[in-house]
């Protein structure tokens, strides 16, 4: 934080009363940014946090003048270095991009031209702005990629040859090449794998320190922002509801919304882990209570007697090898000699970063793929040999909840249709009885009033509501096992707890066993009994969830635990890293 009293000279960006509205034909105008005012000092690292639809990206686009119709600024001003950005023409704006402001996008890594080498991308920028003499092109490009901790050899490679994290680093280096005074990072790490996210974030923080540019980090994850930024702006419904130093926001949040966001963070390593709606599992179990006994929060589960005759899923010595992606490559060993059993009514977490083979295991368990060797059995059924009718009846017992609630529902079918199909197929109910069952399912997952939700199309639902529909569909056949593949990773923090609570209640009240696949250790801690940590297809650690997370022994588990954003821990170790 600057100690300068001469505020005027110190301010790089001055946003006053800014409003941005989306006006598209045939729809109500949406006020995405609503009378927002703030100032950025030179060299400051500011985080801008909000959930989906809070207007934070719209604000970021407005700051860098990348906004396009139907978004329209309908009030206020943006002063950059004392000059109004809004008045700039296209050419002035283009020149302003050098030494002015730059933006790194979430999908920036996909914005690279696949048929041009990385070097050519830099040359294009140098040519367009002419700020680097021709004979220094190479040395400057090498310098830039080293700044983002890449080897200079990447310059000769094509984007397709680089990993997502490397490409995102390249796009940061490209933005840096114009020596901007203001860098806006819009969810720079969201599309990356957990462990890579952490490393890229560290690079951004180090760069900001060494280059001294002013940075705005837009993110949905308050944890990441509090760990890296000095100051935090929290956006909610187009307004900035909180503006303060990271430590202050953490210690003493002013707004209810910020408090709500903060309440959803916890350290999965702690002795006692509680979130809104979740009292710590071990304490609760010791008292013999169920989640619904200790909380009043949603959702409601219609009471049904516990099932009889349940069967375990037993996976033993399973290996899955895929053919090599290109001739001459090594075959891909997605799963290596994995064994576990999922007992009725238990919940098991499979954790690991992407590529660790956890989703492949889900496919093997559900009979979508067949293992190369080893066996998967459900009771007396050999899952690996199922076909046609037998596979269908197996699926009435083992159902799946998908990661992306936006992709898992057919956009053209109503909720009622989506739910009626499995009811008709698996239970044989028809007509009014089927409908009654559908409404019952909706009530089970807490979508009330049921009649209204039944008639809706997926796009009329929020992400959390969609995921509840997906869960309701999985329940329609009255399954014994639910496989949930990252069911909350696409949802906003505030919606996650509700979906997790629903899964927990279903397990406790219906006796459904749960295979929970995730990279998020905190959610695993909340709703699972046992945990298995996968690294490159092999199990590296297993045991009781609380046990493993509190006392991890494998270095990979420890790396995963370190990658969990946790504002409080960073504060304890001396403020922002």
């Amino acid at each position: 934080m600057s100690t300068s009293n001469d505020v005027r000279d110190d301010v790089l960006l001055d946003v006053r009363d800014l409003s941005v509205v989306y006006e598209s034909a045939g729809a109500e105008p949406v006020q995405a940014v609503d009378h927002v005012s703030f100032q950025l000092r030179r060299g400051e690292f500011v985080g801008l946090v909000g959930e989906s639809g809070s207007g934070k990206s719209t604000l970021g686009y407005a700051l860098t003048r990348l906004q396009k119709p139907p978004a329209r600024t309908n009030g206020g001003s943006i002063l950059f270095d004392g000059a109004d950005v809004q008045g700039l023409g296209t050419e002035a704006l283009r020149q302003q991009r050098q030494g002015g402001f730059a933006m790194v996008l979430q999908s920036g890594m996909n914005a690279l031209n696949p048929v041009r080498t990385i070097r050519n991308h830099f040359v294009d920028v140098f040519k367009a702005h002419g700020h680097v003499p021709r004979d220094q092109w190479h040395s400057r490009a090498v310098e830039l990629v080293s700044k983002v901790e890449l080897d200079p050899s990447v310059l000769a490679r094509f984007p397709g040859e680089l990993s997502g994290g490397m490409r995102q680093r390249v796009s940061i280096a490209l933005a840096l090449s114009l020596e901007p005074q203001l860098m806006v990072f819009d969810e720079p790490t969201t599309a990356l794998d957990v462990l890579v996210q952490h490393a890229v974030m560290d690079t951004i923080i180090a760069l900001q320190r060494s280059e001294g540019f002013t940075a705005v980090l837009i993110s949905h994850d308050l944890g990441i922002v509090l760990e890296s930024a000095q100051r935090v702006l929290v956006m909610h419904e187009g307004r900035i509801v909180e503006d303060g130093a990271s430590a202050d926001v953490l210690e003493n949040p002013q707004d209810d919304y910020t408090r709500m966001l903060l309440s959803h963070y916890a350290d999965p390593r702690a002795e006692v882990v509680s979130l809104p709606g979740f009292e710590d599992r071990s304490i609760r179990h010791a008292r013999g209570e169920r989640r619904v006994d200790t909380t009043t929060s949603v959702p409601t589960v219609s009471t049904r007697g516990q099932r009889v005759a349940q069967q375990p899923i037993v996976v033993s010595g399973v290996t899955k090898t895929y053919a090599p992606p290109r001739r001459g490559d090594e075959p891909v060993r997605a799963v290596r000699d994995v064994s576990f059993s999922l007992e009725p009514g238990r919940s098991l977490a499979l954790v690991g970063q992407s590529g660790s083979g956890k989703s492949t295991i889900a496919k093997l368990v559900t009979g979508v793929e067949r293992p190369t060797s080893g066996s998967v059995t459900f009771g007396d059924t050999d899952v690996t040999k199922l076909r046609g009718r037998a596979l269908r009846s197996f699926r009435s017992d083992v159902q799946m909840v998908f990661q992306d609630p936006y992709a898992a529902l057919n956009p053209l079918h109503t909720v009622e249709y989506t739910l009626t199909r499995p009811v008709v197929n698996f239970t044989g109910l028809t007509g009014q009885e089927a409908r009654r069952r559908v409404l019952e399912l909706l009530e089970t997952v807490g979508l009330t009033p049921v009649e209204q939700f039944a008639a809706k199309l997926p796009h009329q639902l929020s992400g959390g509501q969609r995921q509840r529909v997906v869960i309701a569909r999985a329940l329609a056949s009255d399954p014994q096992v639910i496989i949930a593949d990252e069911p909350v990773s696409m949802l906003d923090v505030s919606l996650r707890a509700g979906v997790l609570a629903l899964l927990e209640d279903l397990r406790e009240q219906w006796g459904v066993s749960l295979l929970y696949i995730t990279h998020d250790l905190l959610s695993a801690r909340l709703i699972t009994d046992d945990i298995m940590v996968l690294n490159q297809g092999a199990v590296v650690e297993r045991g009781g969830t609380a046990e493993v997370l509190q006392r991890p022994t494998d270095p990979y588990t420890i790396t995963l635990l370190d990658a969990v954003p946790n504002p409080r821990r960073s504060l304890a170790t001396g403020g922002a890293r």
Binding site: Y22, S24, A25, A27, V30, A32, S52, G53, G55, S57, T58, L66, Q67, K68, P69, P70, A71, A102, M103, V104, L105, Q106, G108, A111, N113, S171, E187, T190, A191, V368, R395, Q399, M400, F402, Q403, D404, Y406, A407, A408, L409, N410, P411, T414, E416, Y417, R421, P422, N425, F426, A455, L457, P458, H459, Q460, S462, V470, R473, A476, M490, D492
Partner: protein, 352 residues
């Protein structure tokens, strides 16, 4: 598909009126589609031109001053008040022939277009959904029809079935015209079958047929419509071409036969250029109107193209990014269409 636009709805949007609470009626969907097409200026021109031709075809007996094959007028007459476009070598009124000729072209366009689209849908969808040997076999047959040049094949078949009348012509066009559409629909089916909602339908115990026709097919409406207009265009052109070559029934009145007889009687040499020009222009206009409508159909499947222009397209993406955050935009893969339509900018422009 429609979800790409509709995410703009604020979360927890208030329940819409009782009318919309009902299951979404098919008519509503079609109506919305028609409105989108109409809002596109190019498509609007296309619809107007097409409308004029269709009305002309329907009301030909009312509009035409004489009968289509009514002869006995002065031969090779120039334009006059009695015969606005003159008469043919056989003494028929050219304007009347032109008006009646619209009937054949529109009929062939609709019937052959619908039939070849139906075949394309049936084969394309099952081919896209099938895996393994069955798919290979279908693929071989489709590729066979794709590699054989269309017009020569048509000529050979038509010559073999000499003078079979308009039905034979339509059959020939359908047989040679479905393969391209099938190929396009197959790729879209393959892309859709890997979507989560299709996997989910399999977990819901749905049969393959139901998945293909209730889950996948409705998501391809705009692509199929586009495919229909493409097929209709080529059917109209092929019909005129075959008639012009004298491979059809040369006694019927169609734009192709007008051209055929005009060519036979050396109309150009006798100064009656209008005999060649007028039917040629009509064919071109009708084909163009269908292609223009296809611009609008594109916008139905790809909301980014609505309101035109790359600027808007980028904005739509920015907006979608903003609202969807961590998810990549699940916009429809840009439907590729049969020949005769534009190459669009697919929104790959770089924003950084």
């Amino acid at each position: 598909m429609t979800s790409t636009v509709s995410v703009h709805l604020p979360e927890g949007a208030p329940p819409s009126g009782p009318a919309e609470q009902k299951a979404p009626s098919r008519w509503l969907t079609i109506g919305r589609m028609a409105a989108t097409i109409w809002s596109n200026p190019k498509a609007k021109i296309g619809v107007i031109i097409l409308g004029v031709f269709v009305l002309t075809a329907i009301f030909a007996p009312l509009l035409a001053p004489y009968g289509g094959s009514e002869n006995g007028f002065e031969r090779n007459a120039d334009a006059s008040w009695a015969h606005w476009m003159g008469t043919t070598a056989a003494g028929e009124d050219v304007l009347s022939q032109l008006i009646y000729g619209a009937r054949i072209s529109v009929l062939v366009g609709v019937v052959a277009g619908v039939l070849s689209t139906l075949i394309a849908v049936g084969i394309g969808l099952s081919w896209g959904y099938m895996k393994g040997f069955g798919g290979e076999v279908v693929g071989f047959v489709v590729n066979l029809f794709l590699v054989i040049p269309g017009l020569p094949l048509m000529i050979v078949i038509a010559a073999y079935l000499q003078n079979g009348g308009i039905l034979v012509i339509m059959a020939v066009i359908v047989v040679t015209g479905w393969a391209w559409g099938a190929r396009v629909l197959r790729s879209q089916t393959q892309s859709l079958r890997s979507r989560d909602f299709v996997t989910a339908a399999r977990f819901s115990g749905e049969s393959s047929g139901r998945i293909v026709f209730r889950e996948i097919l409705p998501n391809m409406t705009s692509l199929i419509t586009g495919s229909f207009f493409g097929a209709a265009t080529s059917a109209i052109l092929a019909e005129a071409g075959l008639e012009f070559l004298g491979l059809g029934d040369s006694s019927i009145v169609s734009w192709g036969t007008i051209l055929y007889w005009a060519q036979n009687s050396n109309a150009l040499l006798t100064g009656q250029w209008i005999l060649l020009f007028a039917p040629g222009l009509c064919i071109a206009l009708l084909a163009m109107s269908l292609t223009l409508i296809n611009f609008g159909v594109d916008a139905v499947g790809n909301p980014r193209l609505r309101e035109g222009g790359a600027k808007k397209a980028k904005e739509a993406r920015a907006c979608a990014l903003e609202l969807k955050e961590t998810r990549s935009v699940s916009a429809t893969p840009a439907p590729s269409r049969p020949a005769g339509s534009d190459q669009r900018a697919t929104g790959t422009e770089d924003e950084s």
